[in-house]
């Protein structure tokens, strides 16, 4: 399973590195979300600093949808999904590989967005470990839930419009917990921030387990 996961993740990441869709489309989109939400809030620096964690995670969430759509689109070519299914690779390995590829892309995106909020909203993270752990746990949850819902909508003509409706309500706990933990990291209040990790950990574990168990039946349905 792990060897298969590495193979699938390597394949997806190689395709992304060559096509550079993430670099030229998803990253600029995420930065655009930061700027647009800041426009909506107004130029007051105190309000922007207060809203910075929420804006950061909104940008991550919307970009996750794009990244998942891209991850599904890779397999949407003529017979590509069938080819992957017939290759004998463990479905759990495919799930883990695709989730790892999406997760790595999201981590890179979050580094860019971290720099973005620091530069645009003039905020400074005081508890760096909390911000990093929050991002890592949230990324596992986002990637696993995202890939699962991506597989659910794969092969459908209305995939692009259906996926956000399906996945965004599911990802709402990550938005909530991520924003709160980041707010605590900005304020230097590690103990209150660590409490929100109690949501991110089960979220990541639940979707990781569901994905490993159910990706096989979902592949057959797609």
């Amino acid at each position: 399973m792990w060897r298969d996961a590495v193979l699938v993740a390597g394949k997806d990441l190689r395709i992304e590195a060559r096509s550079r869709v993430g670099l030229w489309q998803v990253v600029p989109f995420a930065v655009l979300v930061l700027i647009l939400v800041a426009f909506a809030i107004g130029p007051d620096s105190a309000s922007l600093r207060h809203a910075a964690p929420g804006i950061f995670w909104i940008a991550v969430l919307f970009s996750t949808v794009l990244t998942i759509q891209r991850s599904v689109a890779i397999e949407s070519g003529e017979g590509t999904r069938d080819g992957l299914r017939l290759s004998g690779i463990d479905p759990a390995g495919i799930f883990l590989g695709k989730a790892a590829a999406v997760g790595l892309q999201l981590l890179v995106l979050q580094i860019v967005l971290w720099a973005g909020v620091t530069f645009l909203f003039n905020v400074r993270v005081h508890v760096v470990w909390l911000a990093i752990v929050t991002s890592l746990l949230a990324t596992v949850g986002l990637a696993c839930a995202g890939v699962l819902y991506g597989a659910l909508s794969a092969g459908l003509r209305v995939r692009d419009t259906l996926l956000p409706i399906l996945v965004l309500p599911v990802l709402a706990p990550v938005l909530l917990a991520g924003s709160k933990a980041w707010q605590a990291a900005l304020d230097g209040n590690a103990s209150s921030g660590a409490e929100w990790l109690r949501i991110l950990i089960p979220f990541a574990v639940i979707y990781l387990v569901i994905g490993i168990v159910l990706f096989g039946p979902l592949q057959e349905a797609a």
């Binding site: 819902y149 209305v158 309500p169 709402a172 039946p217 057959e220 349905a221």
Partner: protein, 263 residues
């Protein structure tokens, strides 16, 4: 060819529906006229004879049936279209009750909390449950092979069910505006007494019966939809076959005419 196979309506279904509606009528009568005003909330507490029963149906009955139906469909030994239809019906009825939960809670919240909507953990997680159910129904409406659709929807229902324990425990995990369990405490001790308790109980029973009735009616519609879909497909195929036969007939006739006139 246009006749539609009739799907029988069991007698018990009408009885359950009638009992549910009559029970709900009695709940309204008892709740509005017979029971006394609450010591703290006054007349506002009368809405609580219907809000918790509606929320119970939305969360536990509909959520439980959808989860059980989806699991039994995914399990190869028990796989049957019955479980798929039952789960889909439960999610649809559950969506109606989730929406009613939000609406009745909102009506109560305006005078009690001063706002129509509060960003409370229980309210937010219930609203998310409704959105998840709407997502499931959107997925359900996408045309697909019945077996493929059933498997896809079964997985989606399991993912919706993840929110059910979040809604249930939200009042314990986050101490926000919504009160914790007040009818029964964790030790299952009743905190409502007298006519209020009986009205409350009748509300639970009535809405549960209405849920069973709506579930069965929705299931029957699901069967009829599938039957009509199959029959329409057969009619379309028969039409195409007959069109094809006519075209072949015309082709062969027009081909034969010159031959026939040649000698």
């Amino acid at each position: 060819m246009n006749t539609i196979t009739t799907v029988s309506r069991p007698r018990w279904l009408s009885i359950v529906g009638l009992l549910g509606v009559v029970g709900m009528g009695f709940t309204v009568w008892l709740g509005l006229w017979v029971t006394p005003p609450d010591a703290v909330q006054g007349n506002l507490a009368r809405l609580l004879y219907i809000h918790p029963p509606i929320a119970t149906v939305a969360l536990y009955w509909a959520g439980g049936v959808a989860l059980a139906g989806s699991l039994l469909y995914l399990w190869p030994r028990t796989r049957s279209i019955f479980w798929d239809r039952l789960a889909a019906s439960a999610v649809e009825v559950g969506a109606v009750f989730s929406a009613l939960t939000c609406v009745t809670g909102s009506i109560w919240g305006r005078p009690a909390w001063g706002v129509w909507w509060a960003w409370d953990a229980r309210l937010t997680s219930t609203a998310l449950l409704l959105l998840l159910e709407l997502g499931y129904l959107a997925l359900r409406r996408v045309p697909a092979d019945p077996a493929v659709r059933a498997r896809r929807c079964a997985v989606a229902a399991l993912l919706v069910a993840v929110d059910v324990p979040i809604v249930h425990f939200s009042v314990d995990w986050w101490q926000t505006l919504h009160q914790t369990g007040t009818v029964l405490d964790p030790g299952f001790h009743l905190h409502v007494h007298g006519s209020m308790a009986w009205t409350f109980l009748l509300g639970f029973i009535s809405f549960s019966l209405i849920f069973v009735w709506l579930l069965a009616v929705r299931y029957r519609i699901e069967v009829i939809q599938d039957t009509v879909g199959d029959q329409e497909m057969e009619v379309s195929l028969a039409d195409r076959w007959s069109e094809g036969s006519e075209l072949v007939g015309i082709g062969s006739t027009s081909h034969q005419e010159p031959d026939g006139g040649a000698p």
